[in-house]
């Protein structure tokens, strides 16, 4: 059995990519299974999806804890401990990262498996499809190539899954063209599948009663949401163009996360550690003083906690 784990942010298409791979494997004659896991469905929040396929019935469910391949749709997730991108990865695990940086550049400050590949899939999507979100077909194609599937079932799978999402036929055609480029840009990898480990009985803890102050699902530490930096959710950041702001405070009012403060001169100051990049402020600014700039890899949005 081959186990592929996808990591992305809500809206990037990690789940659809896992389905494209699942369908492509199914159409290739394999036994296949795919499933996502996510919390409250928030755009930008870390999500994961799992595809398994093989020749035998699949006796596993849920999260893939020991992936053969990890596909990362957003490089900033590598530095987000909450996303657990490298959890269960072995030295032989193949890691594919959507990044404009080289594997060596990523390795500079991260401990990664031996086989790491990077492609700037977001750059390709922006350039050729004009949308940063639409990378599901591209990631699905890359993943399918890495695990050695033929192009024809991948093409059919992309078509089926995008049709399922009511994507217009001309857009599907464009996706197929770009997906084929991505597919051709990588080579099948030698998969060293896990397994064969001896399983011993887990150490079990006997739960004991704890006082309600501990045993109740409650949070009494005030204001701790600030600890969870959500700046990594951004692809685009709002930037103030000096001189265009008229001090109307509308950005402050519309910001759904309260991350825009107004300074003494009535100018917005964005808390980039927590701004999720929704761009509502950019949309609402009547004088176009706030503009969207794509985040640079390794920049502030990449080091959010």
């Amino acid at each position: 059995m081959v186990a592929v784990r996808f990591h992305g942010r809500g809206g990037q298409g990690a789940k659809t990519a896992s389905r494209i791979l699942g369908t492509a494997a199914f159409l290739s004659g394999y036994v296949a299974q795919d499933s996502p896991i996510y919390g409250a469905e928030r755009r930008g929040a870390p999500v994961a999806a799992f595809t398994r396929f093989g020749r035998e019935p699949i006796r596993e469910r849920g999260a893939i804890t020991h992936p053969d391949v990890v596909v990362v749709a957003d490089a900033s997730l590598l530095e987000d401990p909450g996303a657990r991108v490298l959890e269960g990865a072995r030295a032989q695990t193949v890691l594919f990262v959507n990044s404009s940086l080289s594997p060596d550049a990523l390795r500079a400050h991260l401990s990664l498996p031996e086989q790491v590949m990077t492609r700037d899939v977001t750059g390709i999507a922006l350039q050729q499809l004009g949308q940063r979100e639409a990378i599901s077909a591209l990631l699905g194609a890359v993943a399918a190539r890495l695990v050695g599937l033929e192009w024809e079932p991948v093409r059919q799978a992309i078509t089926r899954e995008l049709e399922d999402l009511a994507v217009a036929p001309p857009v599907i055609e464009k996706n197929l063209t770009v997906a084929k480029q991505c597919y051709d840009s990588v080579e099948p990898t030698g998969l060293h599948k896990g397994g064969g480990q001896v399983i011993s009985a887990a150490a079990l803890h006997n739960p004991i009663y704890e006082p309600p102050t501990k045993g109740t699902a409650r949070i009494s530490a005030a204001g701790n949401s600030v600890l969870r930096e959500t700046g990594g959710w951004r692809t685009f950041r709002p930037v103030l163009v000096a001189g265009k702001c008229n001090g109307c405070w509308l950005c402050f009012v519309y910001c759904p996360d309260g991350v825009i403060a107004m300074n003494q001169d009535d100018r917005p100051v964005v808390d980039y550690a927590h701004c999720k990049g929704c761009q509502i402020c950019v949309h609402e600014c009547p004088t176009h003083a706030l503009v969207a700039e794509r985040e640079q890899e390794g920049g502030e949005a990449w080091t959010a906690k």
Binding site: G39, A40, Y209, P211, P212, T216, A217, R218, S220
Partner: protein, 408 residues
């Protein structure tokens, strides 16, 4: 102590009044309405210093009840049947918040077809909601159980809500003498509500019922609810001891009636157990050694007390006033489960379903139950579920079907 004639519903209202509750969200439903009517009247007159609020549904009512409880108020509310089911999802939230309010349920059979009289499918639907459950046999026990319920619920070893159950009509609208405990002694029995984990302070906000995606945290908190409920076995004993010392009445997890030398035992709950006791007396006059075990605390499940009461018996009949379609009696299943590992378990465990929707159980039917259980015990093989329905009832039903079909 002076007693006075009062219904089970009025006794329930007195329980809330004597417990000095702070907040009462209410929504009427037969056969419960009399409880909240009495409390509304007392609140309006200033005799009860609680805030009484009429809500727009039982769902809102339970939500308000839980919210007030987590803000630190002592809360009482009451419902029945469809009302309990309408509030159902909130029950699980309230136990998850570890909010120790007391809810009186006046049992009434569930629609469809719609009816008003009692059976226990309503309250037993909530058996896994994380509420403790006390089922009362008499009007006095209704009042006393509410006081005990607050004492147990608000203990730091528990902090879970409690349902006190009474039967519609046969207890809710039935008057019998009830002794009103002295308010000063109730205050000694029931200390003020000062939870360590709840309360509302503007300077120290807290979030309750937070999201815990992934099973690790969720399982921990559900385990805690279970362990808290288990603690109630011991805490109930302490409360019973204290209650007995102050008021002279003793309530245990289960009540044995003429069990000492009994060969065969009827297992029952709620007001119907009074008739079961009469059946035991009638059988005894015929020389049959029969006793009755009344299950009073249903959650936590008093497995050890049940094992002790039933070990070594010949035949045991669980008379369920409820029906799980496709399965049988709900309490029968639980009794059977807790006897499985008992080496001296009864030779026969029989299941009878009776009293659905307030269906009358005649002395003759009890006689048949006693006979069949004794036979099953001698034979050493179980019986049932037997759906109790007399030949007379069958004739009456046949006539009604003809009327309904226009063939009268």
């Amino acid at each position: 102590m002076d007693s006075q004639m009062m219904t089970g519903n009025l006794a329930a209202a007195w329980g809330a009044r004597l417990a000095d509750v702070d907040y009462i969200p209410a929504f009427p439903i037969t056969p419960q309405t009399e409880i909240v009517e009495a409390l509304a009247k007392w609140c309006a007159r200033g005799e009860v210093a609680a805030r009484f609020v009429s809500m727009d549904s039982e769902h809102s009512m339970m939500t308000a009840a839980g919210a007030a409880e987590v803000a630190g108020a002592r809360v009482f509310t009451a419902t029945s049947s469809q009302g309990l089911l309408h509030a159902f999802e909130v029950l699980y939230s309230i136990s998850g918040w570890r909010a120790p309010l007391v809810l009186v349920n006046v049992s009434r059979a569930l629609a469809a077809p719609i009816t008003l009289e009692s059976d226990h499918n309503d309250v037993l639907a909530a058996r896994d909601a994380g509420f403790l459950q006390i089922h009362a046999e008499t009007c006095q026990e209704v009042l006393d159980s509410i006081l005990m319920a607050y004492r147990i619920a608000e203990d730091e070893r528990i902090m879970l809500p409690v349902i006190v159950n009474l039967d519609g009509f046969t207890l809710s609208f039935t008057r019998e003498p009830v002794s009103l405990p002295d308010p000063e002694m109730v205050r000694r029995f029931l200390p003020p509500f000062r939870p360590s984990h709840l309360g509302f302070t503007a300077s120290s906000a807290q979030a309750l019922g937070v999201a815990v995606i992934g099973g690790t945290s969720y399982a921990y908190f559900r385990h805690q609810v279970h362990l808290a409920a288990r603690n109630a076995l011991e805490v109930h004993g302490e409360a019973a001891e204290s209650f007995h010392a102050l008021f002279g009445r003793r309530y245990d997890l289960v009540e044995g009636y003429r069990l000492e030398d009994a060969d065969d035992v009827l297992v029952m709950t709620n007001a119907g157990a009074s008739k079961g006791k009469a059946a035991v007396d009638a059988a005894r006059t015929q020389g049959k050694r029969v006793g009755l075990l009344r299950l009073r605390v249903i959650r936590p499940w008093p497995a050890e007390a049940i094992r002790q009461a039933l070990r070594g018996r010949r035949g045991v009949a669980v008379l369920d006033q409820n029906l799980a379609p496709g399965q049988g009696g709900i309490l029968y299943q639980e009794v059977a489960a807790c006897l499985y590992h008992e080496p001296a378990r009864p030779r026969a465990l029989c299941s009878f379903i009776g009293g659905l929707g307030g269906q009358n159980l005649s002395a003759g039917e009890f006689h048949a139950i006693v006979e069949q259980t004794a036979e099953a015990g001698v034979a050493g093989s179980g019986l049932g579920p037997v759906l109790l329905y007399s030949a007379e009832e069958h004739r009456e039903m046949t006539q009604l079907q003809m009327l309904a079909g226009g063939h009268a």
